[in-house]
């Protein structure tokens, strides 16, 4: 059984990545992780005895990020009215450059619904199984598979539509 400090060292980056891609904001992601770690610290004896402590912490991160997004909803309605989304001004020529390509993919990822984005993040970036993803997100197995399939298709369409490499 690992200590809580060791557990945190091994999982902190994963928590941050999930929070970052769910909230889309680095400082908010840090706040989310901080809150999760504090709550985890208070229940550390219980957590280190779990079968999969990282999954529990990821679930806490997911839930906290969802809370944050809900509380942000009202505020963002005003913000959208005041400052519409900035249009992607990348020219086809610039899309050839790798950095811009990755940036463009990220922008498309950010446009996905949060559940779909989260499932993609957990599967593609964190390499988690369907079962682990259902534990973290609370989604049903079928939902996870559908979101993953739709997310990948969306990315494929983007790549084929843009023909990034051919330009």
């Amino acid at each position: 059984m690992q200590t809580f400090a060791t557990l945190i060292d091994s999982v902190r980056d994963r928590l941050y990545r999930l929070a970052l891609r769910m909230t889309g904001d680095g400082s908010e992601a840090e706040d989310v992780v901080q809150e999760v770690l504090i709550r985890g610290w208070q229940r550390q004896d219980e957590i280190v005895r779990l079968d999969n402590p990282p999954a529990w912490l990821l679930k806490m991160t997911h839930n906290r990020a969802i809370d944050l997004l809900r509380s942000r909803k009202t505020r963002s309605a005003y913000e959208r009215a005041a400052a519409p989304d900035d249009a992607c001004n990348l020219t086809p020529h610039r899309l050839v450059e790798t950095e811009d390509t990755l940036f463009h993919i990220r922008r498309q990822m950010e446009k996905l619904p949060v559940d779909q984005r989260t499932v993609l993040q957990l599967r593609e970036v964190e390499g988690m199984s369907y079962r682990e993803i259902t534990d973290v997100t609370g989604l049903k197995m079928e939902q996870v598979k559908v979101y993953l399939h739709r997310g990948r298709q969306r990315m494929r369409e983007l790549l084929l539509k843009e023909r990034i490499v051919d330009r």
Partner: protein
Amino acid sequence: MNHAQATELIERYFAGETTLEEERSLKAYFQSGDVAQELQTYAPLFAYWQQEASLTAPPRPVARRRRLPRWLLAAAAAVLLILTLQIVHRQQEPRVSNFPVAQRQPVDWSRYEITDEEEAMRFLKTVLKNTSENLTRGPEITIRELREVEQILD
């Protein structure tokens, strides 16, 4: 993994039918750099997943121990030493309340009273002489200063 296997796997990948192990193989294939021409379109996506996986949380702020300057530590030590020595010294001194308290005694002026007539006369003459000298000194000073004023005006 050869190009044919990768081509077959990529279709299953987008259909959501690959296992974690197969996805790891596919990612390794795209990372190798030797990618079939017809699969180059998808290379940025796998590069993106790889880049995302390398993201790390910002380092936690380390609470550094603040050390006081040496001169301040030396001054504090000196003050502490002086205070300690004073306390020790005060403890060694007899307490003020242990000293005998001086008591006020009424003065017996009768012991200094002049009883001899000649002595009384000498005392009186001396007093009158001193008084006379002090009284005449005032006009002398006034006259001297008036002369100085006259000299200035002239």
